[in-house]
């Protein structure tokens, strides 16, 4: 299994973004991010209706080892947060691109999505951080 799925977009701060085709996008953190953090024990996500701003922190993930902000990949309004993560934060480790998604977002300005990284560019970013 690829740890950087080809059909997703990425941020430099290690979020992934999936275009849902209905005008909304789904956001989570990447395999690389969850691997660096280790076992997740606490996930704090923005509520539906919250307006978030591109590049600003909008949530927190905490592992046994560390706490890390989750950044908004683009500006917009939260449609839904993944409530299941409150009781089973370990899902982020086990299935970061699937059941471990964090929130759905309605982007304010779709052209912002063009500024995200593609899989190839994100792979290069991860490779450069390992050195």
């Amino acid at each position: 299994m690829s740890t950087v799925p080809k059909d997703l977009k990425y941020t430099k701060s290690h979020e992934w973004v999936k275009l849902n085709g209905d005008g909304s996008v789904t956001v989570g953190i990447t395999h690389h991010a969850q691997d660096l953090m280790g076992d997740m024990v606490f996930v704090d996500l923005p509520q539906a209706g919250t307006k978030i701003t591109s590049g600003k922190e909008c949530g927190v993930v905490e592992s046994v080892k560390a706490a890390s902000d989750v950044y908004a990949p683009v500006s917009g309004e939260i449609v839904e947060a993944n409530a299941a993560l409150a009781d089973s934060p370990e899902t982020v480790n086990k299935d970061c691109y699937g059941a471990g998604w964090m929130f759905r977002l309605k982007p304010a300005n779709k052209t912002e999505l063009d500024g995200l990284l593609d899989a190839k560019a994100y792979e290069a970013l991860v490779a450069s951080e390992k050195h």
Binding site: G38, V41, D44, E62, V64, N93
Partner: protein, 364 residues
Amino acid sequence: MGNRTPLYDNHLKMGAKIVDFGGWDMPLHYGSQIEEHHKVRKDCGMFDVSHMNVVDVKGAKVRDFFRLLLANNVDKLKTKGKALYSCMLTAKGGVIDDLIVYYMDDQWFRVVMNAATRDKDMAWVNSAAKEFGGLTVTPRNDLAMIAVQGPNAKEKVYQALGEALRAPAGALKPFHAATVGELFIATTGYTGEDGFEIILPAKAAPFTWQMLHEAGVPPIGLGARDTLRLEAGMNLYGSDMDETTTPLESGLAWTVALEPSDRKFIGREVLDRQKAQGVPRQLVGLVLEGKGVLRNHQKVICNGAGEGEITSGSFSPTLNQAIALARVPAAVKIGDRATVDLRGKPATVRVVKYPFVRHGKSCL
């Protein structure tokens, strides 16, 4: 590249995530540190602790030497094989390191000290030993150390390493050691569970590790080692105490032997004075009442009693909530509520007596 233990290749083969720990390339976990934690509490697991500093001190005056060097009193060691936990202090009463010393015979004591403090420990021990003629101080870099811990640890060790161990190792009371052939087996540990710490020739370590694994003992990384020891309320050198704190301020008064009052030991004057004037700070346990994780160095606001600081904060997998050790003013009482600044948000913590967990059960 850091120092590597004789088990480094075993760790890589088992899929360990390797991190630097005090200059050593050590396994943080082999997949999930929380799952590893639960295995030790419910069944058993093994830790490579070969980075720790095993030192043999030999000579006619070895007991006199430790009587001066340690804040605890080696005269408590009356039967061969008995172990003692102690701090080694500066003249100002600060903790240079914490250690376990084993009384092997009247000419031989074995000490196990921390890895990250190796150089300063050896300088201190060697310099103190000069005052005692005829002592030899030998770091045993030819040895490795494997801790097997958990309710089923001892049975698994007999299964893996031979029934011949059952009689001599099984007869050991807690905090004792015996040599069995090439193995030095101790009923000590850093998890709050039953088990052994086994010191063995470095060359035999990879094979022994493999035998234990084949008997069903999973490898456990340093990540789980830290949450296990924190739940068990055991101090970590460099976090919960260091040269700026005395053992009396670090929850380690039980390891300081001020009686008999005529025993001179390094750091004694400061501890006597602190005891007489009242110890200003204490180490307490904290439990976070809501969600989130307590972290080292977070400030603790103790209503009306001043401020303190978290020295070891983490998430307790057994209790499924955040716990911490914190150094707070002496006036703080068990049962008090205090406030911790959790990433900019105030959070309520309860002050508790630790350990938090012993033998798999909550102590709260």
